[in-house]
């Protein structure tokens, strides 16, 4: 008995192969679509904004006059914001990761903490903005200063830092800590001298990537009420501030009033993207140079 009709199979073969090849190109086109959009976006921003970038723009104060406007205040604001976010998230993120991975007993409580972190990672950034506005700006009465913005941003990226730090700690092989215990070290000595140094490259990579999210994030800061036109440069974490994305936001929505604002927004985007690019390069260098596979 013949199960397969060879003739039929042969007749169908051609169309099946053609279909396969056609769809292969369709899939490739779909993959390239995202990249083409990326290219268009970058080329457009570059052609519009690059001529506006000069020393005056980078070191000048904000101004309603497009020819005189500078973004030094926003650059400093972004840097001060990082000065709050980096220590706070590293302290809280690494601490939580150490607790969850190495100290917490595997049980209900640990599961609650883990589920909680997973849920926090999915909360929209604007909700963090509302939390920050209610707690830091109003209840603790900080006002919209760098500290309030920094703490809000820290809470926003905390889940990312925790998860990546936990992964880095988990990647340190068991026999490292066993050897340390064997030499008579206590648990904390083992954590501090053996596990953390081995996990550090992974932790740093994750933290830097989370930071680049914080640098580009706008929505929570809008809710905190960061002002549109701020002239004095921020000189510390207790000063009022603005950041690069906020400046892009205001120039974009005002570009229907003054055409040049769109070019200023482009120029600011270039500065922001360069900052992100540098940060990511550092992360990649750390990952390639220090990350060891055990």
């Amino acid at each position: 008995m013949k199960y397969i009709d060879a003739e039929k199979v042969k007749n169908k073969m051609g169309t099946r192969l053609i279909l396969n090849n056609i769809l292969k190109s369709v899939f490739l086109l779909a993959t390239l679509f995202g990249l083409i959009v990326l290219a268009v976006l970058i080329i457009r921003v570059l052609t519009e904004g690059i001529s506006y970038i000069d020393l005056n723009f980078l070191t000048g104060k904000l101004s309603t006059n497009p020819d005189r406007a500078g973004i030094m205040g926003a650059i400093l604001g972004t840097l001060w914001l990082m000065a709050v976010v980096v220590p706070v998230t590293m302290f809280l993120g690494i601490g939580t990761a150490i607790y969850n991975e190495l100290y917490a007993s595997k049980g209900r409580f640990q599961q609650i903490i883990q589920t909680n972190i997973a849920n926090l990672a999915g909360v929209p950034s604007i909700v963090y903005g509302i939390l920050g506005m209610t707690i830091f700006v109003r209840a603790l009465d900080f006002g919209n200063i760098v500290l309030a913005g920094g703490l809000t941003m820290s809470l926003l990226i905390l889940p990312i830092v925790i998860v990546s730090s936990q992964e880095a700690i988990r990647a340190v092989p068991q026999h490292f800590s066993e050897a340390s215990y064997g030499l008579g070290a206590t648990k904390w000595q083992t954590v501090k001298n053996i596990i953390l140094p081995a996990a550090l490259p992974g932790i740093l990579t994750g933290t830097i990537l989370a930071l680049s999210r914080a640098i580009g994030e706008t929505a929570p800061l809008v809710v905190l009420g960061i002002p549109a036109l701020l002239l004095p440069f921020p000189g510390g974490i207790f000063d009022k501030f603005t950041v690069l994305p906020m400046q892009i936001y205001y120039w974009t929505i005002d570009s229907s009033l003054v055409d040049e604002y769109a070019y200023l927004a482009s120029a600011t985007i270039i500065v922001l993207l360069v900052m992100l690019f540098l940060l990511n390069s550092v992360a990649i260098i750390i990952r390639n140079k220090f990350q060891q596979r055990y």
Binding site: R16, N20, K24, V26, F27, L28, A30, T31, G34, L35, V37, L38, V40, L41, R44, V45, F91, L92, G95, T96, Y99, A104, I112, I113, N116, I117, A118, N119, G122, V123, P124, S125, I126, V127, G129, I130, L131, T134, L155, L158, P159, T186, K187, W188, G216, E217, T218, A219, V222, V223, G225, P245, Y249, T252, S255, A262, S266, I269, L273, N280
Partner: protein, 318 residues
């Protein structure tokens, strides 16, 4: 001999001192060992406190809002006029805007994301994949404010050439750009799901004479379905919570309409408008901020829980 003895006693003393010192530091160590886990627990509780903080602020202020506006009016009202003389607070226009923009985004991101995943996982050679994947990650790393700028100053004018009657602020353009933003997320999560289908299944199907396309649609996608669906749900959640793109490119009209060429406001954009404006603390409009945020929070939370449930519950284990 004598000298030797002397040295001995001296070294015994030294050893005794060392032991003493060690004991002291051991006491210190023991205290540290006891104290450190508690300290770390306190740090770990910050993330729990964050959740509690979010829920408590949203719930208490939303409760205050519902003292002034009835629950029924809020959830069934199709008119949102917070600033008028007789303010009305119906959330349906915002939910409508949120859902429509998310649908547009998913119509873009869903097909393109999954096709990208198929290409990377099933067709691309190792070398091609190693070039394309980091570039897609680049797309994921662009801040949303930049996408908002792109939607407002590039995509909208472009679409207006094609679609006459498209308003300067409309829901279509930010929807599409949001979709582009979500492509890398769906592509990479779906690709992970597809790559984890064991090679033996591919080879089995190929050996039976199936083309790569048939393998993809009849073997790989069914086997990876849970991962693909959960990536979709996460994509929807991301679209619902996205703020800056819709704020910039969709304007602030609070019409209850299904016409995608018009301006619509999403829940997130409303929060930006109200908090960015000068809503005096204690006013009804100020509390409406929390009621809308609460709704948004519940929407995304449900989506995230569904996504996690699907990927856990229906995961095929090999």
């Amino acid at each position: 001999m004598k000298a030797n003895n002397h040295v001995n006693t001296e070294s015994t003393v030294q050893v005794r001192k060392l032991l003493e010192k060690n004991k002291n530091s051991k006491n210190l160590l023991a205290i540290g060992e006891k104290f450190i886990p508690k300290f770390l627990l306190l740090i770990a509780l910050v993330s729990v406190l964050t959740t509690i903080g979010i829920v408590v602020t949203l719930v208490t202020e939303t409760f205050e809002f519902f003292q002034r506006v009835s629950v029924a009016e809020f959830f069934t009202g199709t008119i949102l006029k917070p600033l008028s003389q007789n303010p009305e607070f119906g959330i349906l226009p915002l939910i409508n805007g949120t859902i429509i923009s998310s649908i547009i985004a998913m119509l873009v991101a869903g097909p393109i994301g999954i096709m990208t995943a198929v290409y990377l996982s099933e067709y691309a050679t190792d070398r091609v994949r190693r070039i394309l994947k980091p570039m897609l990650e680049l797309l994921a790393g662009i801040p949303t404010i930049v996408y908002g700028f792109f939607a407002f100053t590039f995509v909208t004018p472009l679409l207006r050439e094609i679609i006459p009657g498209l308003e300067a602020t409309n829901i279509l353009s930010p929807g599409i750009v949001m979709g582009i933003m979500i492509i890398p997320m769906i592509a990479s999560l779906s690709e992970d799901a597809m790559s984890s289908v064991p090679n033996a299944m591919r080879e089995g199907a190929l050996a039976l004479g199936a083309t790569k396309l048939e393998v993809t649609f009849r073997v790989i996608i069914p086997a990876a379905l849970s991962g693909i669906i959960s990536s979709f749900v996460l994509g929807i959640s991301r679209a619902i919570g996205e703020t800056m793109i819709v704020t910039i490119a969709s304007g602030s009209s609070k019409n209850f309409t299904f016409d995608i060429t018009q301006s619509m406001q999403t829940m997130t954009a409303y929060i930006v408008e109200v908090s960015g404006g000068d809503a005096p603390a204690g006013s009804t409009i100020y509390y409406s901020l929390y009621a809308v945020a609460m709704t948004l929070f519940v929407f995304t939370l449900i989506m995230n829980i569904i996504a996690r449930y699907i990927s856990k519950r229906f995961k095929e284990e090999y």
